[in-house]
């Protein structure tokens, strides 16, 4: 509604002023193109909100039904790592915002630097997630693969006990490099028995939702890397400047959205049971 009309006076003659190389033929002006692209991204984010919204609704319903078990299940997650990831991701949002800003003021070199920083932070995030998931697998919290609630609870108690007096830093390092004491994995019979336990079933629903939500979130980040690479490529060829930086801004919107999803996932998944145990 806006772009078309403000430009209407010049529209008739736009052919005369030579096209900006980035202006597609069906747009009247860069302005219109910019507005369209930004709106397009926002519309896409609307669909994303509802896409995650389905998951959040499922989460809410089960949370209401199985409140206690959800808290206990949540207490199995590692708040330190969750927090670390929150910080990393917010930082990456900052660098992304800076990348957009660099484009707006036409500093190509800086765009590349900030995009690079964003990508590295994003990779760090996924790296931490990798260690978390690996740990979940080791203590038998992955539905289908090996879920065994009793076993996981035991391991958790043990770990709390062992690590009680260690300083924070060595605890943190231990999360990545510390190797696990060997435990006899639960037998098939134990797992089968565990699956009959209503509590285990409820905790498992939590973990299904946990993996679905964080998994889909991670998938969004991976897609984000692809987009960053593409934008970085164009940036390196000097495509962007104060005149035209739409793709950088669109990418920024996407990345910030992914950040926002995590801002909600963190308390809903990690902090839900934090008050129960002084673990981790």
């Amino acid at each position: 509604m806006s772009a078309t009309n403000t430009k209407s006076d010049t529209a008739q003659s736009h052919d005369n002023h030579g096209h900006h190389p980035s202006l597609a033929h069906h747009f009247v002006s860069l302005e219109q193109q910019h507005e369209a692209n930004i709106l397009g991204m926002w519309m896409f984010l609307v669909t994303e909100v509802l896409f995650f919204g389905g998951l959040f609704t499922a989460y809410t319903v089960y949370r209401l039904k199985f409140n206690t078990m959800f808290q206990e299940a949540s207490n199995q997650l590692d708040i330190t790592l969750g927090c670390l990831n929150t910080v990393v991701l917010i930082l990456s949002s900052l660098t992304m915002a800076m990348a957009v800003r660099s484009a707006q003021i036409g500093k190509t070199k800086q765009i590349l630097n900030y995009l690079g920083a964003t990508a590295i932070l994003g990779l760090m995030f996924l790296g931490v997630k990798y260690f978390e998931w690996k740990h979940d697998f080791e203590i038998h919290l992955v539905p289908k693969a090996n879920f065994c609630w009793d076993y996981a609870k035991e391991r958790r108690k043990e770990a709390d006990h062992h690590e009680k007096d260690k300083p924070f830093v060595s605890k943190l390092i231990g999360k990545f490099v510390g190797h696990h004491e060997e435990h006899a994995p639960p037998s098939a019979a134990e797992i089968a028995k565990d699956h009959k336990n209503p509590e285990s079933q409820q905790a498992r629903i939590f973990f299904v939702l946990y993996f679905a939500m964080t998994g889909i979130h991670a998938l969004h980040m991976i897609i984000g890397f692809g987009l960053i690479a593409a934008v970085a490529y164009w940036a390196s060829r000097g495509t962007y400047g104060p005149e035209y930086y739409t793709p950088v801004e669109v990418l920024g919107l996407y990345w910030h959205f992914v950040d926002i999803v995590w801002i909600f996932l963190f308390p809903l998944l990690y902090l839900l049971g934090a008050h129960l145990g002084a673990g981790h």
């Binding site: 509604m1 910019h34 919204g53 609704t57 910080v87 917010i90 707006q104 801004e249 926002i260 934090a274």
Partner: protein
């Protein structure tokens, strides 16, 4: 129609997206987000009973609003963008509220 253009001017006067936001804005937003993160973790560790979740979600929403307003520049965006965000929240709300309307009112009848 005589008034045909006035309806369309809509929040477009100052080409806002051409002016990059100042660094101060970005860094204060970032600091606020960090502080809120610490706050939410601290709050998570306490047991406020029924208030646990509202507090956690309240802080998260506040953080999200900061990101939306400053990192995503919505503070200076068109009304349409704001409307779009509002719409997404509104329909997400419908999904949740009407679904829960069923779940929460199920036990009401005695028999």
């Amino acid at each position: 129609m005589s008034a045909h253009n006035s309806a369309n001017v809509e929040a477009h006067a100052g080409h806002p997206h051409h002016e990059p936001a100042s660094l101060v804005v970005y860094f204060s937003t970032f600091s606020a987000l960090m502080i809120l993160t610490i706050l939410t973790i601290w709050a998570g560790m306490q047991d406020f009973g029924a208030l646990n979740t509202p507090i956690a979600l309240g802080i998260a929403s506040f953080k999200a609003v900061l990101v939306v307003l400053f990192f995503m520049h919505v503070l200076h965006s068109s009304t349409l963008t704001k409307l779009t965000i509002f719409a997404s929240m509104y329909f997400l709300g419908i999904l949740m509220v009407f679904t829960l309307a069923d779940y929460l009112s199920r036990g009401w009848t005695g028999q």
